[in-house]
């Protein structure tokens, strides 16, 4: 089996701020675009209903703002990615070039999906996010770096200490974020669990 162990120790690039709390995955990728059997074409539909009006005219979303063209880092507020578990959401963002996210907080399934894709989603306090967004809006060309190993976001002269669940950080930095291989390595232990589970043994085991 080909093992994929790509280490993600830092990502950097231009950043694009997306304002608002509780941005749900239905906004990130509306359900009607999930009628697909691959993730390939999702990029063009990211934030579709927030970007286009009903006539198909652009409404002025940051993703369409030339100043943020080619941004690889997204800056968000709190509870980003809430709602549906659809991995289509981070898959769509990734296909728009997003490789790292900095935010106040994330819905759990969304953060897990990002990690499964090798995208770090790190957390800063609201005050730092505000400062960072102000700086980026003032100088959209500035490079923002998520230094995972070092635990800091670097933006111009400023450094912000971020948080990320240690398991996520670890698996990104050591390349085990692609979890299938890690889990497969323990199949012997899985057998033991199977043997001990009451419902897999006619409920004859005490558990």
């Amino acid at each position: 089996m080909p093992e994929i162990h790509i280490k993600v120790s830092s990502v950097e690039g231009k950043a694009v701020p997306i304002h608002g709390n509780d941005i749900d995955t239905d906004q990130i990728i509306p359900a009607r675009f999930m009628k697909c059997v691959t993730f390939d074409g999702l990029g063009e539909y990211a934030f579709y209903d927030v970007r286009y009006d009903e006539q198909g005219n652009l409404k002025g979303h940051p993703f369409d703002d030339e100043r943020y063209a080619d941004a690889g880092i997204m800056i968000v507020n709190s509870n980003f990615g809430c709602g549906s578990s659809r991995e289509h959401a981070p898959q769509a963002l990734a296909r728009c070039g997003i490789r790292g996210i900095i935010g106040e907080s994330y819905a759990e399934i969304f953060a897990g999906n990002c990690t499964s894709m090798g995208i770090p989603a790190v957390t800063l306090p609201a005050s730092d996010i505000k400062q960072l967004v102000t700086a980026v809006e003032k100088d959209p060309g500035m490079t923002v770096k998520i230094d995972l190993a070092g635990g800091v976001v670097v933006a111009g002269p400023n450094r912000y200490h971020f948080e990320i669940p240690s398991a996520y950080k670890q698996s990104l930095v050591d390349g085990s974020w692609d979890s299938t291989a890690v889990l497969l390595a323990n199949l012997e232990d899985v057998k033991k669990t199977v043997e001990s589970l009451p419902y897999l043994n006619g409920f004859r085991r005490a558990g």
């Binding site: 578990s85 759990e108 398991a167 232990d189 899985v190 409920f203």
Partner: protein
């Protein structure tokens, strides 16, 4: 101190601690549907892997299924393609598939329990955030992304961090016209849509104990709307009674042994929790959402909040909600006209929901200004309803009677809001665009409140319309 169910069940399924600090957790039951699984099959095939325990995965179709005309091939080519993908994938990998040509098809979170697949003490995963529903049985059910579906297919395991556990203790008696839906909408309004991040919610207390399994499912279902990936209720005699005799439930002597195991895992009276939240059911009234998150809900007799009076962190989303909904600060929800009434979804598309709504609708007529329809959550729910004569009551009242599926809960099928239509809905999400129109509007409420709104043509306090 005693252990809570969550810790007991987690430890039973923990294979080992991984280097990352996450646990490798064995998944007892894996359910899949057509929207989030095709890419996962593609991923395992690309790596030359097979499905490790095909007998522990079950599949159905729900999201894209048309509810009016289910003839194949579907008119929607993309939907047909997805349908064929799940047919092929399940066939190729030896996975049992409850397709449209079986009498067991339905919304994934409805068929698991009704077939007896969902049992206490299991870990249950599905590529769908409302997998928390299955927690009503004392299982740990959680939604996963497609890469994690790949992991479960290939290894029957997940790499996952253990959450903390918050007990939500509900005491008191529900008043007439107040339902399980109102309990969970109240909890979300109180604790916030992100209050449950990092937690599993255990619903406990005399009020929860007094609820039927279907009512418990409604509550656990919407845990995710409160940010909690997992919600559960400890199993008791109500749980055991519900499971008995279902197609995939243990039978005979094995059932007795199973029941003994199920009783043994319930949280003890002295179980420990990371946090406890108390809710008094005596004070609850029917709830209605007014905004664009499930936490933006008020009691039906109340008034909408004034943005200036809200805590700072809620102001921006409240502004957005008012802009989208077109409501006025301080207005009441009672009297708000509606265009569509939707009864269904994995939150409230079960037989008891349909019975209660039908009971209310007997001898009444849907307002001429409203288009109303009811979508049973599964074929079995539909068959049961037919046996009880419910479709006749619905159609006599002016409700359309449809085939089983997710329908207008998320509008990945022909059932969609149009333009700025406003929908009284028994589903679980009122996000902008959720019901198929970017400018459409959703009011979440209990099924009987939906029925009452359909008849009145506007939001009403159902307590004034029942004896």
């Amino acid at each position: 101190m005693g252990r809570n169910l969550f810790d007991t069940v987690w430890d039973l399924h923990k294979v080992r601690t991984l280097e990352s600090g996450q646990d490798q957790l064995f998944i007892g039951l894996h359910m899949i549907h057509e929207v989030t699984s095709p890419q996962a099959f593609q991923m395992i095939e690309e790596r030359g892997l097979k499905v490790l325990h095909p007998e522990r995965t079950f599949a159905t179709v729900d999201h894209i299924v048309p509810t009016a005309n289910q003839e194949r091939p579907f008119q929607d080519k993309l939907a047909e393609e997805m349908m064929q993908a799940i047919e092929n994938n399940t066939k190729k990998h030896g996975i049992e598939f409850f397709g449209l040509n079986t009498d067991r098809q339905g919304i994934v979170h409805i068929i698991g329990p009704e077939l007896g697949l969902t049992q206490p003490g299991l870990t249950i995963a599905c590529g769908d955030s409302h997998t928390s529903t299955h927690g009503a049985f004392g299982a740990i059910g959680f939604g996963i992304g497609t890469s994690q579906i790949r992991d479960v297919l290939a290894t029957q395991c997940l790499a996952i961090s253990r959450p903390r556990v918050r007990k939500i203790n509900v005491t008191g008696t529900l008043k007439k016209g107040v339902y399980a839906k109102d309990i969970i909408l109240k909890i979300i309004a109180e604790l916030g849509v992100n209050g449950g991040i990092g937690y599993a919610y255990e619903y406990a207390g005399e009020t929860i104990r007094g609820l039927s399994m279907e009512e418990r499912m409604t509550i656990c279902n919407m845990s995710i709307e409160g940010g909690a990936r997992v919600g559960y209720v400890s199993p008791d005699e109500t749980t055991i009674e519900y499971i008995k005799g279902r197609p995939y439930a243990p039978a005979g002597e094995e059932f007795e042994r199973a029941a003994e195991f199920w009783r043994s895992i319930a949280s003890g009276p002295d179980a420990e929790y990371d946090d406890v939240f108390e809710l008094d059911a005596n004070t609850l009234e029917p709830m209605v959402t007014w905004g664009i998150t499930p936490g933006q809900a008020v009691g039906v007799s109340g008034r909408l909040p004034r943005v200036a009076e809200l805590p700072d962190e809620h102001k921006e989303i409240a502004d957005k909600a008012y802009a989208h909904m077109g409501f006025t600060e301080g207005q009441e929800m009672q009297g708000q006209a509606i265009d569509i009434a939707f009864l269904g979804s994995c939150t409230n598309g079960r037989i008891s929901d349909l019975r209660e709504a039908a009971e209310f609708l007997k001898g009444k007529k849907v307002s001429p200004s409203v288009k109303a329809f009811v979508v049973p959550g599964s074929k079995q729910v539909a068959r049961q309803a037919e046996a009880e004569g419910l479709p006749e009551i619905f159609t006599a009242a002016g409700f359309g009677w449809r085939g089983a599926g997710c329908s207008m809960c998320l509008a990945m099928n022909p059932d969609k809001l149009m333009w700025r239509q406003i929908c009284a809905s028994s589903s679980n999400r009122n996000f902008v665009g959720r019901q198929g129109s970017p400018t459409g509007r959703t009011l979440l409420m209990s099924p009987v409140m939906v029925a009452a709104a359909a008849v009145a043509g506007q939001v009403v306090d159902v307590r004034n319309h029942i004896q």
